[in-house]
Amino acid sequence: MRELEYPFDGNYIIKKKKALRRQLLSEEGVRFTPLRIAILGGETTNDIKNVMELFLLNNKIQPEFYESEYNRYYEDAMFPNEELESFKPELIFFCTCNRNIAEFPEIGDSKEVVDNKLQGTFEKFQTMWDHVSATYNCPIIQNNFEPPMFRLMGNRDSWDIHGRTNFINRLNQLFAEYAASHENFYIHDINYEASVIGLSNWSDSSYWHMYKYGVSVPAIPFFSFNVANIIKSIMGKNKKVLMLDMDNTLWGGVIGDDGADNIEIGQETAMSQVYSEFQSYVKSLKSLGVLLTVNSKNDHDTAVKGLERPDSILHPDDFVSMKINWDPKSRNLVDTASELNLLPESFVFADDNPAEREIIRQEVPGASVPEIGNRPEHYIEILDRSGFFETTNLSADDLKRNEMYQANAARSAAKASFQNYDDYLKSLQMNGEIQNFVPAYMARIAQLTNKSNQFNLTTKRYTQSEIEAVSANPAYIDIYGKLTDKFGDNGVVSVVIGNIRNNECHIDLWIMSCRVLKRQMENAMMDALVGECKARGLQKIVGYYYPTAKNNMVREFFAERGFNKISEDTEGNTVWEFDLTTDYTLQNTVINVNKTEDN
């Protein structure tokens, strides 16, 4: 559910929690795993529980809760408790905060007294954990402590043994050591979470004084989300695969247009450093056993060169699967899943392009599609805080999982086909503006003729003044196409220039930006071209394809538009004809062309 995916609107979740719960429980065909969770709190836990339930349901876990009375966590854990015993908890969550620390150091305390207070506080918890795990033999999640709200000595508080900051940090270290030496015991790191959202946002004391919440109510969704992530990880519901786009996700720029030498990766520019840092993060995920795959709309041989650069941190052999082609990405994801013998819901799909994210959301339910946005400096933060790969157990198998799957991937698998790609395109609500050149776009059109390498039939370059000359000359047909969809304006993305000779239109230039590939924009341009040719009473259109190192993807472009091949020379240059004297059926069925929003 989108509302429950990071980054979420916490206040919205709190306000709508009843409606969200209803929605989650009414989804058809979802099989929930039941789980009995005992929350033993040193603070009020009511909303922590309610919001946690939403995040667990979203992970297909249906919790049943036992909740201790306010601040009865110790008593519930240590003393015979029929109600808790008959509840038979399958997981126990100790929800405590620094308000539960009974004895902080006083300024006059000797070192021995401070150490005794530290040990005393820790032992109270340790005894409780030992007792509970012997009694209930189930996983335990324990909050560590958030930093104190005030620092009596200011900065000295951090290192002086009398400082609360110092005391809490030492206590957290003892908790960590216990976790490191005990199976089935997990720390919920509220110390880190409080720093992420800011201590003032985390510990608003009015919530403590009014309702005995150690964590501010607006911070509860963030808190509960993180506990739910630990639980779903314990329950084996982590994601397993990170599937990555390439252009503007793994590096800056479009490798098909810019070339491997000119993409942004490495240490030369600020942007290339950002992408390098992201690649390092991704590579670290691999060391945790996360499988890496590529899903990119590109020419395979061209795109792989980006990963073969010496300064690329990720290399082709870091990936267990690479789908680099012009197929819909949803199909690539499903194919990859079946090759790896995994379910699509094990996948996290990272792509800077919102339209690609949307197609995965619509076509591959269950796959996670984080809103990583299009600012690469935020990719790590969003992926990391989403908790897809929350690690509760790190086994030897995890560490070598990539090798296992690399072998699996070698097996081919059946391809799934989608019947409803057109429906997806329609859902994008695309509006095309397809017209003769206008002064406002002359510069952009000239730029596009110089930047486009992949979707470029003739690779003819124009200066702005040449574009203006073409536009002014009645012997030319000049058409530009601009595409808007529900995610925004893609700008001018396609240009066609035809030269009229002897009642024939000879295509000098046909280009399109790859970002709108497979959206039927090429069809809409064809429709506009045919319309204008017919209006001028022309007999045929003659198309030319001149192969280059980069434009292989449009080798069959004219055939797909209904042209007949007339000739081909030894270099692969082809000439095509389209007959204008017969009836023409519009090829674009999904883009609204030249309609204002009012229509």
């Binding site: 206040n11 306000k15 009843k18 009020t44 009014m210 309702y211």
Partner: protein, 79 residues
């Protein structure tokens, strides 16, 4: 913002928080009139009201409000 506007937006907040589209509120509405309005839901209600109107209701006020009319007046005084 007029009192009518405040009440109309408050009604939506109440309906969201208590997940009940039939809720109608008036100046004299109190927690006794809405079955789910206990002290836990009161916290959520106050937070939702604060978010809706972009105000922060002082702690002293939040725990002493007598009825919805007083809540509305508090909001108006802070806008």
């Amino acid at each position: 913002m007029t009192k009518e506007e405040v009440f109309s937006r408050l009604t939506e907040v109440f309906r969201d928080v208590f997940d009940d589209e039939s809720i109608e509120i008036s100046e004299s509405t109190t927690s006794a009139d809405i079955p789910d309005w206990d002290s836990f839901e009161h916290i959520n209600l106050i937070l939702a009201v604060e978010t809706e109107f972009g105000v922060k209701i002082p702690m002293g006020k939040a725990v002493t409000l007598k009825n919805v009319g007083e809540l509305a007046e508090t909001i108006i005084s802070m806008l």
